[in-house]
Amino acid sequence: METLAELLPRAGGVFVQMEDEIASISAVIGASWTGAKAMTATSGPGFSLMMEALGYAVFTETPCVIVDVQRAGPCTGQATRVGGGDVMQCKWGMHGDVEIVALAPWSVQEMYDLSVRAFNVAERLRLPVFLMADEAVGHLHETAEFHDRIAVEQRDRRKGFPPFGHGDPGGVPPMPCFGDGENLLVTGSTHDERGYRKVEEPQVHARLVERLRQKVLLRRDELVDVERYMLDDAETVIVAYGFTARGALAAARELRGRGRKVGLLRLRTLWPFADKEVAALDGRARRVFVPEMNHGQVLGEVRKHFRGDVAGYGQTDGEVIPVGTIVREVERLT
């Protein structure tokens, strides 16, 4: 954010430091409705504070990007130490049923690339997109390549259409903005396709909630993003994400050197979950191992979709999981 404070005004943008995280996400939503690409970044307690407004962003279909640099919680926890305990929070921390998109970078390069992707997905689907980094990635110094030109998704601002849906069950309606002369009616209450409050009508609510879910679920194939390493003959597959996946890849290579058939399925998206990709390991891999800096938040998802043996290793001491630990834990399983 400090870098954005320096760079954004030079690029014709606006940076403002609000009084707290609730105000920050609120200002992001207000800015987005004027047509601006808007983002904020936070960690730990600040992420918790943003939850109510994030539900508002989902329900009003407001494109925005939230960077959560996960740290060791709960509560204030270890403010400058690493954690991975917000994986479920970004999906389930808002009250009510929502589907969102969450990306998991493992490098400085991906902080850049996935930030671009996050904005594009947010604009295309009209929803908040989460860049779920962790402290280790957040404080990383390494080489990255920045591009002169990037593909930028332009918001569909066509006028004259209902701004909150149409017949298409997973459809993304056009989003004209404040000042476009559309007399927009935006509310966090249940609303019909033109934004009129309809809190007494069960079908309106059910239809809206379902469309917002299907907007993501029907596009899961284009959204879910994984990387596969040494999976062709792998008997043991490590499923990992974020900084932990770096250690997992090193561990898999080391274990290969010791003659063990180990591969890595790296999740570059946490949500929607890579259910098909995990299920596809069935019948080929004998077991899946999930190391993560929480107590089994992705492990539980993997268990839902992989029918073979699934084991996890959860570490929440504010340190990254060492390669040697992953090697040791996989060897114990095999």
Partner: protein
């Protein structure tokens, strides 16, 4: 009564959500009259509100862009919208519970930042929509759902609060003075920087009934009788100002020592004001 303001109402919205005798309808009329008299470009007009009865003044009634946000957060949403598109005229309309209690932090910081917003506080001295709970504007001694023995706590003087926080223009008028109220709203909109209008808007349902005002008229009489113009207040000893509704306009110039800061702070307790 002229029907000229119908053009400012959103088609399909047939009835207001306000109780009989609520002051918010008068305030809605005043806002529309101000918009009309200023000749504002409605395409560049954005109303932002929070949660509560007053948040319904613009949303869904007014035919312009309206953003009906979360409880207390309207000013923060408005700040983002105004900074991202300075061409918009951004007007926040919400209640005292919303703006001053839940959103109090956003209010003072927006005033401090001096973002070009107009914030209109429909002040009914109580949380109306949620069932008549006490807020930071509930008079000392007043009965509410959460102060059945009388409110023991002091109230915020919104004029002092927001002016002290750095607002460029602050005014206070009740809906019983619709013309000065409307003029103040016009001035607030024209003011570059942060402007705030505290509008006393009686709530017969939640405040009036609990505090034994026989009918709507009696509650409006109370508001009318509490009014004290700031010029007159300046001539009176502090002890006579407790609980009075000191009305007028203030600018940062009034913060200079001895310039007569309004005072309508907590009364001595007992029955409402």
């Amino acid at each position: 009564m002229t029907r000229v303001f119908e053009q400012y109402l959103r088609p399909g919205v047939k009835a207001t959500a306000f109780c009989p005798g609520c002051g918010h309808g008068i305030l809605l009329h005043g806002i529309l009259r101000a918009v009309d008299e200023l000749g504002l470009d409605r395409e560049k007009l954005l109303f932002v509100s929070g949660i509560g009865c007053a948040a319904w003044i613009p949303s869904p009634h007014i035919l312009a862009d309206t953003l009906h946000t979360l409880h207390g957060r309207a000013v923060a949403y408005a700040t983002g919208a105004k900074l991202a598109n300075p061409a918009l005229t951004v007007i926040v309309v919400s209640g005292d519970g919303d703006l001053v209690s839940i959103g109090g932090n956003h209010l003072v910081h927006a005033a401090r930042r001096g973002v070009d917003l107009t914030v209109i506080c429909a002040n009914n001295e109580i949380y109306g929509m949620t069932g008549g709970q006490a807020g930071p504007t509930t008079p000392v001694g007043a009965i509410s759902a959460t102060t059945p023995r009388g409110n023991p706590y002091a109230t915020f003087d919104l004029v002092k609060l927001v002016l002290g926080a750095g607002a460029a223009y602050v005014a206070r008028y009740p809906v019983t003075q619709p013309r000065p109220m409307t003029d103040a709203i016009k001035k607030a909109i024209r003011t570059p920087g942060f402007a705030f209008v505290d509008v006393a808007s009686p709530c017969p349902t939640q405040f009036g009934r609990r505090n034994r005002f026989e009918d709507v008229g009696a509650l409006y009489d109370r508001t009318h009788d509490l009014v004290l113009p700031r010029e007159e207040a300046a001539m009176r000893p502090q002890s006579e100002l407790a609980g009075r509704l000191v009305v007028g306009e203030w600018t940062p110039e009034d913060l200079r020592l001895g310039a007569g800061i309004p005072h309508d702070g907590p009364g001595p307790g007992g029955p409402p004001c």
